[in-house]
Amino acid sequence: MTLLDLVIFLPLAAFLLILFLPKEHVDGIRRFSLVASIAIFVASLGLIGPYWFGNPGKFVFETDLPWINSPAIRYHVAIDGISLWLLLLTTLLTPLCVLVSWRSVQKRVKEFFAFLLLLEFGLIGVFCAFDLFLFFVFWEVSLVPMYFLIGVWGHERRIYAAVKFFVYTMAGSMLMLVGIIYIYNQAGTFDYAKIMAGLQNGSIASSYQEQLFLFLAFFIAFAIKVPIFPLHTWLPDAHVEAPTAGSVMLASVMLKMGTYGLLRFCVPMFPVAARNCSGWIVTLAIIGIIYGALVAMVQPNMKKLVAYSSVSHLGFVVLGIFSFTQQGFDGAVYQMLNHGVSTGALFIMVGFLYERRHSLEIDAYGGVATPAPRLATVFMITMLASIGLPMLNNFVGEFLVLQGTALVNFRWAIFAAIGVILSACYMLWLYQRVFFGKASGEVSGLRDLDLREYAISVPLIILMVWMGTFTQSFIPSISTSTAVILGPVDAKRDVHVRNATHGALRAQQQQGVLPAKESVDAR
């Protein structure tokens, strides 16, 4: 029993305990959820240990136990530098979501918090499962609580959104299941490491045709989850209709399941197919970046605006992955975390506004900065982070992605950069319409942040600054793990790219944006 097992099963234990609490004691339930989720977060902080103070191997906190004998399914969990941060993102956001829902969820409180903890269980599991079957189980398990969170506690069109979300994801996962079973039938195991070895020595899926089909089976499942244009249509509905906590978990963590899957399974398992498909996938990612930004610009609804901005931001992550460069990979992972923090924060702020004014329409606001200056400040920092202002977190991620992309194909980088410009447009315009101008009518009486809301926003703001300035805390551990995945798909194998890389990388290291680790790869 390692610390990781504890972190995985604590949410499940808390979920079961909540079921036995009397439903009348809503305050007790809220407090219990808060304490439990904070305890889980504190426990999960221990997982950083080997990365900051020790010398981690490829994987740490590994547990490998048999679960089902035949077919050979194992409870095999571990973390590496990628899983670690996504896991921490999950455990950090859960207590914040509990706080966010403290007042805004008034009906069926017990069930709400129970589902939130069950969701945490599924999400944590997804990021540390190293058995394909176990991964699939967690993947699907996280679907059910989110479905209920949207469907029961959402806004007007919640049922439509919840069912659409479920069926869409389910269709993708079924294709992935075919892929998983197909691999099992050839490999006789679901174990990640053994399957990787089998794929590399050609004992599994020896023909390119098979690899391509398997790649697509996994890719479509993950692409729906990310979501990659044109499979994104479930996302605006789900985000807009979900309660604040649901939107936060959905945007910050659940979407990362897709990009994590691409990085952990799709690319390293089928490197040749991934390389060959990268052309059209990158095209879709760039379309997503620009399309998402353009659609976000014209939204009259704040949540929808943030939702479409997610489509745009996630396009960067996909672009980074399919650039097949060290910088692209690091940037993609970093951008996953950044998006989790800053978009999560944006949804939380929009939730604050909704709690005060009970409207998501931008037109219903204007001049909020006058009655609520502190809220305006917090919102501004978050918004600037989301745009990609230097010293704040998104800048680092976007920079690395664009740099990695530019190494491979400069035109891609130009198109993607347009997305960054557009994001400044829609965000600043949103801020202007909501916070500036003369406060009139109901808006003039809006209250400012209270203690609970500070407790939610301040940690996120600190994290945005931290991630924007002290990248050394995060990037080395990420690079070690992404380098392993990059090995067989590295774009540097192409000679002309290698030459281009050399100068650019050196310039990077001098600026201190990239860790020294890169110099080894750059040769």
Partner: protein, 488 residues
């Protein structure tokens, strides 16, 4: 034929479950005129005791595997599995019926007697080793079920259900019998192993063609019984019209037994001519899944919806048969057990919810159940999630194992289409959950009374079974795998 017609003691031991159930059924028929109709508890207790004794006998008989009664019956792991399964279904049916019969003021003695006979017939099917015994078992089971489908004889829907079931069922049975006649004419035997060895040694192209035709005729009969397309037309009307606990019974017990004989006949006797029957089982499997799932999308009556869902699930089991390998047989066995649990659970909720005269059987009537009776709704949700195939439930693992078998047999497209079908299925099951949790309670929900003890037991046991099969499938899967070698 061996000359000895005197059964030995061990023959009786192997046949004991059927004997016990027939005795219990007959006993109830005798008790009724003596005690009168009001001694409901007495009748249900005798039935339960009969079933439990039969269950024990079936398990005990597994220690004495082998052929009995001049090779007419066979006791092996496969037979034991299905015997235990159908007797288990019988026990759950008794538990969910007593409240229903009281509510509808229906006589209970005949009901329980018919139930015992029907299950006894299914046990004969599970152990049958030759075609005549299969036919006899099928008829014992079917005739009792025809009557049960129309048990409330003053109810129009019951009459319609029974009549449709009986007429179409007899028609299908005639095909089966005709197929048996062809086989006897071709091979000179009704014993499955003999038919197999005859077809193995060839017998010329003409004989193989005749056997293929016989297989097609028998396929019609079996496909009807398991409600596989294109012979599924009866199922929605009958499931909707029959009393709710009878639908519970029909969708689990007779179906499992019919699949048992289906597999035994096609894999043992027709094993040598697999290439002739695989294509039509393949297409029937696909058609069954598609018809079941897409028709269910449009249903508003929950019994009818679950009827189409049960057609779709028959399609999944057909996929396992189309794979015709040992993994496929084990997968089908596991799936039928998991399906029995989740379907019994779902129909038990409906039995409880429908009230007198089955007034509330629309999906919309369930509005707000999640907040009026949280436990009932939570258990129902477990069954529905299992029917969708969400991990950690038996339904998921069963489906996983079936499609694993299919991919083993290189049925890649059938697997992809089948699994995409289950994404479609998610939609109509979710609709029930939506109504239960996301709509405000109406009259139908507010007037709901607490669960009766029998239904409560059924629900919790079925939910426990569903979850155990999902989390620790090895418990059952090992047994299924060990007994899936039908050809010895």
């Amino acid at each position: 034929m061996p000359a000895s017609f005197t059964p030995t003691a061990i023959d009786y031991l192997r046949f004991l479950p059927e004997i016990l159930m027939i005795v219990a059924g007959t006993l109830i028929m005798v008790m009724q005129p003596l005690l009168g109709d009001n001694k409901r508890t007495a009748f249900s207790s005798v039935t339960l005791v009969g079933f439990i004794a039969a269950l024990v006998a079936a398990v005990a008989a597994n220690d004495y595997p082998g052929l009995s009664f001049s090779n007419m019956l066979i006791v092996d792991g496969f037979a034991t599995f299905f015997r235990v399964l159908v007797i288990g279904v019988g026990i759950f049916t008794v538990l969910s019926s007593s409240e229903y019969l009281r509510r509808e003021h229906a006589a209970s003695a005949e009901y329980y007697a018919l139930l015992l006979f029907s299950v006894a017939g299914q046990c004969v099917m599970a152990t049958a080793n030759e075609l005549i015994m299969i036919f006899i078992g099928l008829e014992i089971s079917s005739i009792a079920t025809y009557i049960l489908a129309g048990y409330l004889r003053d109810d129009k829907r019951n009459n319609e259900a029974a009549l449709k079931y009986f007429l179409l069922g007899s028609f299908a049975t005639a095909f089966l019998l005709y197929g048996i006649a062809w086989i006897y004419g071709t091979t000179g035997s009704t014993n499955l192993a003999d038919i197999r060895s005859f077809l193995m040694t060839g017998g010329g192209a003409r004989n193989l063609t005749l056997a293929g035709t016989a297989a097609a005729l028998m396929f019609v009969g079996f496909a009807f019984k398991v409600s596989a397309a294109p012979f599924q037309i009866w199922a929605p009307d009958v499931y909707q019209g029959a009393p709710a606990p009878v639908t519970l019974f029909m969708s689990a017990g007779p179906k499992a037994a019919a699949f048992a004989v289906f597999m035994r006949v096609f894999i043992v006797a027709f094993g040598p001519i697999t290439n002739r029957w695989e294509p039509f089982v393949w297409s029937s499997a696909l058609l069954t899944m598609v018809i079941g799932n897409f028709a269910a999308l449009a249903q508003t009556n929950i019994k009818r919806l679950l009827a189409y869902s049960s057609i779709a699930h028959a399609g999944y089991v057909m996929v396992a048969i189309a794979a015709h390998n040992q993994v496929g047989v084990a997968a089908a066995m596991f799936y039928l057990a998991a399906y029995a649990f989740m379907n019994i659970g779902a129909f038990a909720v409906i039995t409880h919810f429908s009230r007198q005269g089955e007034k509330y059987v629309n999906v919309d009537d369930l509005a707000g159940l999640g907040w009026k009776q949280p436990a009932t709704a939570a258990l129902f949700s477990i069954f529905l999630l299992s029917l969708i195939g969400v991990p950690l439930t038996g339904g998921f693992f069963g489906k996983f194992y079936i499609f694993k078998a299919a991919l083993d047999a290189n049925l890649v497209w059938l697997s992809i289409l089948g699994l995409l079908n289950s994404a479609v299925a998610a939609y109509y099951y979710l609709r029930i959950i939506v109504v239960m949790y996301m709509h405000e309670p109406g009259v139908s929900t507010l007037t709901l009374e607490p669960l009766s003890p029998g239904i409560r037991t059924t629900l919790w046991a079925a939910a426990l079974g569903t979850l155990i099969l999902g989390i620790f499938p090895s418990l059952l899967l090992n047994f299924a795998t060990n007994s899936s070698a039908l050809v010895k």
